[in-house]
Subunit: 128 residues, 2 copies
């Protein structure tokens, strides 16, 4: 464990915090999670198939998988109604809502600077 790479004090981030935070972000900042966050924030309480239709392009596998992870992390609550046909509803917890709010900044940033990125990319590619 303690390989401790001779850290020259200056710019290094505390490895523990770094580990934990990037770990959390890594699980939370993927495409489907963000889209589900967005959809659930706007839609309130939604069923499985409704989510599937709302998030364009998601496979049922990834929908299940992502929802499970989000449930596990306490971002969404899952309510099973014992009826036939089955009815399962998902909604954001307060934790999920707060994350959604935090992501708002990144979302806006992306929407705002989209063209600048495209431009930078085009320029870079043009330079070879």
């Amino acid at each position: 464990m303690s390989v401790q790479f001779q850290a020259p004090d200056d710019v290094t981030i505390d490895p523990r915090i770094e580990q934990l935070v990037t770990d959390v972000i890594g699980r939370v900042a993927d495409k489907w999670t963000m889209l589900l966050l967005e959809v659930l924030e706007q839609g309130g309480t939604l069923r499985f198939t409704e989510l599937g239709r709302a998030v364009d392009g998601i496979s049922q596998k990834m929908l299940t998988q992502t929802l499970r992870q989000m449930e596990r992390d306490g971002l969404v609550s899952r309510t099973v109604h014992p009826v036939v046909p089955p009815k399962v509803e998902y909604r954001l917890t307060d934790l999920g809502l707060s994350l959604s709010a935090a992501f708002c900044g990144v979302w806006n940033w992306a929407a705002t600077h989209l063209d600048r990125i495209e431009a930078a990319r085009a320029a870079f590619d043009a330079r070879g």
Copy 2:
């Protein structure tokens, strides 16, 4: 043009924006990019190997690759000094700085709610 996305079912997000934004976020929100963003924000101008030492666990391949992408997207500037031995310096552009700021919210969220997530996860796992 007023395309005004004829929402067939309630909660759908405009596919174009969704596409573009998630695309941008997808490239920008990966582990190494975030860590480099953080390190560069704090460290100012840094050399290749300094970055390698600052970001614990990154391979030189991923460092190169991630820096290239960030440069392509206009997030970092790369300056080659024609000396021997070679000296290449990286620093955030204003675009990169703004992204770093935007991510700050998510970063803080993760740091703040880390324990709640761990707790939720433990509870979930305990329930089977």
